[in-house]
């Protein structure tokens, strides 16, 4: 699992994937509100990170999540 999205200099510089590093107090709903204005769209973030999230309620500090 590519848990270090910022690795590989040349490729990383070309990468336009949007990432969020989880901080204390973050939830997927809060991230959906921050990035989309709608907490109900948390499932979009969850689906985009199914390779690293088993449960939308379980995210850990420092984890890097894709924000579609």
């Amino acid at each position: 699992m590519p848990d270090e999205p910022f690795q590989g200099k040349g490729k990383a510089e070309m990468d336009a994937t949007q990432w969020h590093e989880v901080k204390k107090g973050d939830t997927l709903s809060k991230l959906a509100e921050k990035y989309y204005g709608d907490p109900g769209l948390y499932t979009t973030i969850f689906e985009a990170n199914r390779d690293r999230l088993k449960d939308p309620n379980l995210i850990r500090i420092g984890q890097k999540l894709r924000i579609p």
Binding site: A12, M14, A16, W19, Y36, G37, D38, T44
Partner: protein, 197 residues
């Protein structure tokens, strides 16, 4: 004595005329050779090294001007100079093509990534009941229109590349990149490092 002097003057005149016509021929040939070489390589070179083409054209013009004034030695030198400049075209064009191809390779990795990321964000925001802070409806509409523009412009840039218009393709890619950066910033997205330079 007077007769001898007249003969000597006439002889000198004839000799100088001979020398003159001897220099005229090579000058004429040098100009023709430079002109032919320039006309052969000019079309391709203009796309990649227009400054060098202009320098060769200037040298050829100098040769023609000198020729018109009867300064055949200067005309030959200038024409030889023009030919030397034209000789460098092939290597310079190849170097420029390699440089542009490398730049295109980078853009063709970066820009589709940026466009895809913007599309993805616009799709999600289109489903949102409310827009995020710092993004109002007008800005969002502007971003959507901008996305359609860069999508089309990227297609045009790719076609220009396929048709061999490297410089044109790169110019189009540059404007796509600038617009994509603008849209990403409006949407509050992270701009890839390669797009910042």
């Amino acid at each position: 004595m007077k007769k001898i002097l007249s003969i000597a003057v006439a002889l000198l005149f004839a000799l100088s005329l001979g020398a003159c016509s001897q220099a005229k021929g090579p000058a004429e040939a040098a100009i023709k050779a430079a002109e032919d070489a320039l006309n052969t390589g000019k079309a391709d070179a203009m796309k990649y090294i227009p400054d060098q083409v202009k320098a060769a054209e200037d040298a050829l013009k100098a040769a023609k001007d000198a020729f018109a004034k009867g300064d055949y030695a200067a005309a030959t030198t200038a024409a030889t100079n023009a030919s030397a400049k034209v000789k460098d075209f092939a290597a310079a064009v190849a170097a420029k093509k390699a440089e542009l191809t490398k730049a295109w390779g980078e853009q063709s990795q970066l820009l589709p990534n940026m466009i895809a990321a913007i599309k993805s964000r616009v799709d999600v925001l289109s489903k949102s009941k409310k827009l995020p802070a710092n993004l109002d409806k007008e800005k969002f509409e502007g971003a959507k229109n901008g996305l359609a523009e860069i999508d089309k412009a990227w297609g045009e840039a790719s076609n220009a590349f396929k048709e061999g218009g490297l410089a044109d393709a790169l110019a189009k890619a540059k404007s796509v990149k600038e617009k994509a950066v603008e849209i990403m910033t409006t949407l509050g997205m992270q701009v890839p490092a390669a797009a910042k330079s």
